[in-house]
Symmetry: C2
Subunit: 333 residues, 2 copies
């Protein structure tokens, strides 16, 4: 295993120490229990928005803490759910009296621990609502998931709910918006290579020199099929078609699109895939109203990419355009 770390047991702590040093204007890191919290939290009267999940998917979630997005993030160990005490502490830290939204990716451990934390917080008088993201069309049920996995739509929900909360929307409205984003978002990924969790020290799965895995999970969970290496046009078309048929997206739709790198994919390739994706969408009368091309929800150093499409309404687009100031996403301020 070749990594720029000191000791696998300390990698999360040391990463977060660096994040805190680099972004002291935006956030603070609490180490026990571990969470990342927006500078100046709690904001009185504002709906809190938090998320969390295993580390190793950066910038998601810790890199999305700041103005206009998340009030806190709860990073678990690499590819491991955060514990209820982390989530409870983060929820209490960001509650400004208006309650807190939990944005939870659909993995069994995450769901269980966020639910447990929500109960603990509610027992202490803090109102909590959860939005579960389950947008991955690749497979039903997976290694760590009943139903569909939660992937790229999480980034969109965090941005859009974060903007709504910043505007003063109450908890119920922010939660409703988050649920609408999830209902209208779909994703699928492809892996070219595996990745290595520091504590494990060996690749998470094995993949041949000429193979790709269509429908990969962000922890390396099996996808739909192993295939021979295909041209980018074909890889993009297969993922896009699975996504488009699933909602379904239809002519006249406006979408927010993400071409997301898994961590080890050159930006050249991601833009090349974006060109293929936009060509496919235009041919179907679908307009890309906004887009992200880059690394947003990664799997350590995995090579590959995922596509996310959100059928966006006016309110979502307006929230998308609001200012955001985080380590991983920044515009308008």
């Amino acid at each position: 295993m070749k990594k720029l770390i000191n000791d696998p047991a300390n990698a999360r702590r040391e990463f977060l120490a660096g994040l805190a040093l680099a972004h002291a204007d935006l956030l603070a890191v609490i180490q026990d229990p571990v969470y990342v919290v927006r500078a100046g939290a709690p904001v009185q009267g504002k709906t809190g928005v938090i998320s969390g999940g295993g580390s190793g998917h950066e910038p998601m979630h810790a890199g999305f803490v700041g103005r206009g997005m998340l009030d806190a993030a709860c990073p678990g160990e690499v590819f491991t759910s955060p514990t209820p005490d982390q989530i409870e502490a983060a929820t209490l830290a960001v509650d400004g009296g208006a309650g807190v939204l939990h944005i939870v990716k659909n993995y069994t451990g995450d769901i269980m621990n966020f639910e447990m934390a929500a109960e603990l917080c509610q027992a202490r008088g803090v109102e909590v609502r959860a939005v579960v993201i389950n947008d991955d069309v690749a497979v039903e049920d997976s290694l760590y998931t009943a139903g569909r996995r939660g992937v790229g739509t999480t980034v969109l929900a965090e941005k859009i709910c974060g903007a709504a909360a910043e505007r003063g929307y109450g908890l119920a409205r922010v939660a409703e918006l988050g649920e609408r984003v999830n209902r209208h978002g779909r994703s699928m990924g492809v892996a070219l290579t595996s990745c290595t969790v520091p504590a494990a020290g060996r690749p998470n799965f094995v993949i041949g020199a000429d193979e790709i895995e269509m429908g990969i999970g962000i922890h390396g969970e099996p996808g739909r099929e192993r295939s021979a290496l295909l041209p980018a046009a074909e890889v993009t078309a297969r993922m896009a078609e699975a996504i488009l048929a699933d909602l379904p997206f239809t002519s006249g739709d406006r979408v927010i699109a993400i071409v997301n790198g898994m961590g080890g994919t050159p930006l050249m390739e991601l833009y090349l895939v974006y060109a293929e994706l936009e060509r496919i969408l235009r041919a179907r009368g679908i307009t890309v109203a906004r887009r992200l091309v880059g690394n947003y929800i990664t799997s350590l150093e995995m090579a590959g990419c995922s596509l996310t499409l959100l059928k966006a309404d006016d309110e979502m687009l307006s929230m998308w355009d609001d200012p955001v100031v985080t380590a991983g996403l920044r515009w308008g301020a």
Copy 2:
């Protein structure tokens, strides 16, 4: 070779097509000869600022075209110098009557072709000045370079000169500022893995499973030494000490720091390295006034990182803080 491309011969063209589609508000791509130009160029009366070099280092340079940074970028084929006709066309396209600055990384082919283009432009009445970046302390002379290679300081020079030009500085002042940035910037990198140029189809160099290359070049040029894999603290210290001793940086200095990913390095590791770097600098009385942690000057999918430190004066810091709106760097607007 596993890449999300269609045909190696078209990878640059297809990447740039995607860049143009994704960022039509910021830039346009001209395909023959190839250059990327800021939307609305030329800006009358404004000093033009352009750069260029081989593709495969994205977001540099094409991702830095936009408001407050580059007016144009000339992307060569992967790891290959841009040709004089590309640079000439870009220079003419951005000249608003106030002349054009060429920011050139010190590689023999780049120097030669930028000089040739400058002569062609001057013959057509466009004033051109060049700033050569040669900030890599690892080695004197290299595979493609006489003297020191140009690396991370290029990103800082592009931002700072871009801001000065946006403020209305004339060509001589922008060039003087760029030269000052180069004189006060130092960098060094480390590779954990190799990378594969699409047209070559095999790794650029070979490195053992337990080896790292200290002082790597951004095209895989040999560094100072092969070493066994070391803890991040030791890797960071060796690079930082080489950089600090070279200027030298001393107590009381304020720096702009980059912890730069080579393309295949998880953000967790880059932040962990940043924590090590800031610890080293603090112990020497050096203040990190501004910083970037992420992928800014990459080498395709190479795993590894580079450190850049710029001893910054008030004018540089003020320019750094000015708004920038590009695909790869964005704040303040």
